[in-house]
Symmetry: C2
Subunit: 167 residues, 2 copies
């Protein structure tokens, strides 16, 4: 991850991923695991979200679910079949399933999630021939920045826990 053919990258892709990363920062600022997502329709963001599981006390409040719900509300249609999603971390099973449900045809993600990723790592939910919907996937866009904010978050958490133990 993090290295890819140079023709893979286009300026708009980086722009959208930067917006997703900004969402991840917003999650970090409220003490949530920093993952962010945007749904783009043409050249317009129609949905954005950052992980708010703790704040909303809702296990479904992942960045992708919130961004998809907002995009569908914004477009007045549950079918997001002319949208694409940018997300800082490889989606989990729930979020990959939501991408299928929303018929999103393009997913671009940053860092891989070797423990729970359901696109390439643990499951490959978006490239299964038995399902009707197929999704074009690109991974590794700004993977370093997307992964770094997660490492920082978990490092801080560890330090806080260690300090508490010492008190």
């Amino acid at each position: 991850m993090g290295s890819m053919p140079s023709d893979w990258l286009s300026c708009p892709d980086i722009h959208w991923m930067q917006l997703a990363l900004r969402e991840a920062v917003a999650a970090m600022e409220i003490g949530e695991v920093p993952v962010g997502a945007v749904v783009v329709h043409g050249d317009r963001v129609v949905g954005r979200g950052h992980n708010q599981r703790e704040l909303l006390k809702d296990p479904t409040a992942h960045a992708e679910i919130l961004a998809i719900t907002q995009a569908a509300a914004s477009l007045g249609n549950w079918r997001l079949d002319d949208c694409r999603m940018y997300v800082t971390l490889e989606p989990c099973a729930m979020c990959a399933g939501a991408i299928l449900q929303a018929r999103i045809p393009q997913l671009i993600y940053g860092a891989t999630d070797p423990k729970a990723g359901a696109v390439h790592s643990i499951f490959r939910l978006l490239s299964d021939a038995r399902l009707n919907h197929r999704c074009e996937i690109r991974s590794g866009l700004m993977a370093d920045a997307c992964g770094e904010i997660l490492s920082q978050f978990f490092e801080q958490l560890r330090l806080q826990r260690n300090n508490k133990r010492k008190e």
Copy 2:
């Protein structure tokens, strides 16, 4: 499906599945694919939901997601690790993923979904040794009734479409 050892069935299980089925009927009445779910904590329903994808124009508005969100709000905790879910149809990947996210330890479902079921049929997301969370699953409870309402719904839909074509 539909046949199971008689000691599998307990009256409370049937009671809770009947409530899930009532939710499915509520979906049918508003023209939605009839799937219903309840989340039970001890002997109390803390979340219920029926498919409202069309009404809410939200691809994530499946019965299970709505029931989980309501249960978490009701208990003030995203962890539903002392709850169980009753749902009329085998969950899809999104909903099976949400069950994992919510740490629900027991799932009881009615009819199988050979096309999109992600518990036994297409994927086995809830019994994967690589994931931290494991879920005890029982299937086939009131499978006939749970499947019948779906068959009725799709039969009606077919008739309506055929009638429209003739007009």
